[in-house]
Symmetry: C2
Subunit: 374 residues, 2 copies
C-alpha cells in the first residue's frame, strides 16, 4: 500500500485536529464537508456535498482507502452503501449504531453485563422508573441537547408527543462525578486505552477535563479500563471511542458512547505520546496502535465556549496576554464563529501542580471567550 | 489584528512542519513554492512561482501579514523589495545575511567577540592558515556541500578557479564533537533557547541528534546558551536560529548559523513544550514566546536518508513493523521522493534510557530508508 487516503465524513473541529498527525504520517485526508468554511474544510482537502446525495458521497468514498466519521448524524443506509462499494468503513455500521442510537446502546451494554442505570424504552404506556427521571432522544442529542429531566407522567407524555419518536428513560442518578475514558481498537483486535479523565460539566456541556483523575482509586481506574476494553471488543470497535461514565461511590455506571475522537480526549494531543487523532488514523488504517502513556503528571484541558457579550469578539488578540502569562499553554483554535454556548477552541496545560493548572486553564478559557477582560 | 497570514518563501519540509502549529493557532500559511509537488505545498495554501520574478513575489507578499523564509537561497534585493512594500519581513535582510554569507558571518562573530576558528577570506594571494585547511563557498552550501578539505595551495587555487568566487578559509579543527543550539527571538527582543543538542554527522550530513547533550558540563551548557543569546541580540534576530558549534575540550567554536527552523531542532516537535516551528511563527508574529522546556529526560531524533538500493522504496510499508516494535516512535514523512543522500523524513523517540533510544532510532531510520530489511 502506498500512502493512503482517509476519508472523513464531517469537517468540524474533530476533522481539523486530524490534520497535524496526518501531515506527520504522510496520510492524505479527504473530508466530506457540508460547506467549505467548516473548521476542518478550511485547512484540509475536501468535497462539499450533502449526505442526502448518496451518489455524491459514494463517488467521493471511492477515491478513499478507508472512510470514517467525525460526527454521529450519518444514516445507517449510507454507511452500508459505502461499505457495499468495497471501500472499507470504520467503525462499521453495526458498531456505529451504538454511537447513534441510545436504546441500542443500553440494550448492548445489558447484553454485555455492563453497568447501566435503570432504563426503559418509552413509546407511551407504563413507566417503571421513579420520578424525577431522565428522558433522552434516542438519536441526535449531544452537549446536553435531547436530554430532559421529567418530574411526572404528564410532562413525559407532552415531551413524547413533541419529539414524535420513542424515548429512552433512565433513572436520575445522584452521581459523585463524571468521567470518560478513550479507547482505541484496530481491525486486528489490538486495543489501547488512555488514562481515565475527569470531565467537568456545566449545563450539560463539558468545560474542563483533568487527566488522570485526581484521587481516583487504582481499583476504580482498573475497572474503568476493563469496561472500555470490554465495550470495544463487544461492539467490534475500529477507531477510537469515548466511554462516558458516572461515578457513584465505588460504582461505575455507563452514561454514553461516542465512536469517534471526543472532547474528553483532546488532552491527549499534548498530554499523551500518541493523541486520539493519530490513534484514530492508525486504527482505521489497521496500523499498530501508538503508546498512550501520559507525558506529564497532569493534563488539564479547558474548552473555549462562547458567552453572551456585546463586544465584538476577537480570539486572536488574547494571545498577547495569554502567551506572556502562561508560556506553556497550548492553544487550539477551531476557527468557528464565536456564539453563546458554542465550543470554538480549547487549551491544554501540562504540569504537576493541579491547583495551578486548573486556575490558569480556567483563566485562559474565560479570557479567550471574552467572559473576562483581564 | 484578526488571525494573521504568515507568508513563507520556500515550500520544503520546514514549511511543511509549520503546518501543524499554524492549524492549532488558527494562523493561515501561504507558501511561495517552486512547484506544487514540494513537501509543504502538498498540504498548505501556496502560490507557485520563481524567485526571479520579483513582481510575482511582491504580489504574493502583499497578501501576507508577515513574510519569512525556510531556506537561504533568497536574494538580498528581493528581501529588501518585499520590505519596501511595507510588509514585515523577518528575519530582516541585514540579519538574514549572516545565514547566507559565511564571510559576513565570520566577520560579525569576530566583532561580537565570539569564538571563531582561525579564518580568512581568499581570492588568491596569501594563505596564513596551516594545511590541511577547510575552504567553504561563501554562500549556497549546506549538508556538507560547498565544504572542501584543502591540503596544499595548488589545490586551493584550482578550487578557487572552479568556484569562481571568493572563498572562506578556516583552520581544520580537531573537535571532540558537534553540537547545536536553537534560539528564538521576537521583535520586542524577548529571547528563548532550547537545550543544547548533540548533532551526529556522517559525511557532512546530520544523521542523529540527542537532546540534552549527554555528559555535557553545566558550565559548557551555560556558555552555549550565552553564545546563542548574544548572537541573537547581536544580529537582531527575529524568528528561530540554529547555532552550530564545535566542542574542542572545554572550548566552544562557532561553526555555522541558520536563521530558520533547522534539522537540529526537529526533536522539539515532541520533545519540548513549544516546538521550533510554533516558536518561529510566534516570533515573526511578535507574539510572546513559548516554553522551551523538555518534556522528557532525552529526545533522540534520527533522519531518514535515502540510500543506494535497487528495491522500489516504499516508506509506508515499514509502518506496520516499526509501529508494532516501538509504539512511542513519532514518524515524520516529508513526502519527498527517496533518493540517495536525501533527507526524506525523521523520527523522534523520547525517554530515559539513552542507549535504548539511540538503538531504536537507528534501527527505525535504517528500516524506513530501506538500508535494512528487518
Amino acid at each position: 500500500m502506498d500512502f493512503p487516503t482517509v476519508g472523513v465524513i464531517g469537517a468540524g473541529q474533530l476533522a481539523r485536529m486530524m490534520v497535524p498527525p496526518a501531515v506527520d504520517l504522510g496520510i492524505t485526508l479527504s473530508l466530506f464537508a457540508g460547506s467549505p468554511t467548516e473548521s476542518g474544510a478550511q485547512i484540509a482537502p475536501h468535497t462539499v456535498g450533502s449526505l442526502a446525495d448518496q451518489e455524491a458521497v459514494l463517488q467521493w468514498a471511492r477515491r478513499c482507502d478507508v472512510v470514517t466519521f467525525e460526527h454521529e448524524l450519518i444514516p445507517q443506509e449510507l454507511i452500508e452503501a459505502i461499505s457495499a462499494t468495497g471501500v472499507k468503513v470504520f467503525p462499521t455500521a453495526s458498531s456505529f449504531l451504538f454511537s447513534q442510537n441510545k436504546l441500542a446502546m443500553r440494550q448492548k451494554m445489558q447484553e454485555l453485563g455492563l453497568p447501566n442505570p435503570v432504563w426503559q424504552a418509552y413509546e407511551g404506556g407504563e413507566v417503571s422508573i421513579n420520578y424525577p427521571l431522565i428522558a433522552k432522544s434516542v438519536s441526535g442529542g449531544y452537549d446536553g441537547r435531547g436530554v430532559f429531566i421529567i418530574n411526572e407522567l404528564e410532562e413525559l407524555q407532552t415531551l413524547h408527543e413533541r419529539v414524535g419518536q420513542k424515548l429512552l428513560l433512565e433513572e436520575k442518578l445522584s452521581f459523585d462525578f463524571e468521567i470518560a475514558i478513550m479507547v482505541a481498537r484496530s481491525p486486528q483486535g489490538q486495543a489501547a486505552t488512555w488514562a481515565p479523565t475527569l470531565t467537568v460539566q456545566r449545563n450539560g456541556i463539558c468545560t474542563e477535563t483533568v487527566t488522570p483523575i485526581p484521587n481516583f482509586s487504582p481499583a476504580l481506574a482498573a475497572q474503568t479500563v476493563q469496561i472500555a476494553l470490554q465495550i470495544a471488543r463487544g461492539i467490534d470497535l475500529v477507531g477510537v471511542m469515548a466511554v462516558e461514565i458516572f461515578v457513584v461511590g465505588e460504582s461505575l455506571i455507563i452514561n454514553e458512547l461516542a465512536l469517534r475522537p471526543h472532547n474528553s480526549g483532546h488532552w491527549s494531543i499534548e498530554g499523551a505520546v500518541t493523541s486520539q487523532f493519530e490513534q484514530h488514523l492508525r486504527a482505521v488504517l489497521d496500523l499498530p496502535l501508538g503508546d498512550t502513556s501520559l507525558v506529564a503528571p497532569f493534563a488539564v484541558m479547558g474548552n473555549v465556549i462562547g458567552v453572551e457579550t456585546d463586544k465584538s469578539p476577537d480570539l486572536y488578540k488574547p494571545y498577547l496576554h495569554l502567551m506572556a502569562r502562561i508560556p506553556g499553554l497550548k492553544i487550539h483554535q477551531y476557527m468557528k464563529e464565536l456564539r453563546p454556548g458554542r465550543k470554538v477552541g480549547h487549551v491544554t496545560l501540562l504540569g504537576e501542580d493541579l491547583l495551578h493548572l486548573r486556575s490558569e486553564v480556567s483563566h485562559a478559557v474565560d479570557y479567550l471567550s471574552g467572559a473576562i477582560d483581564e
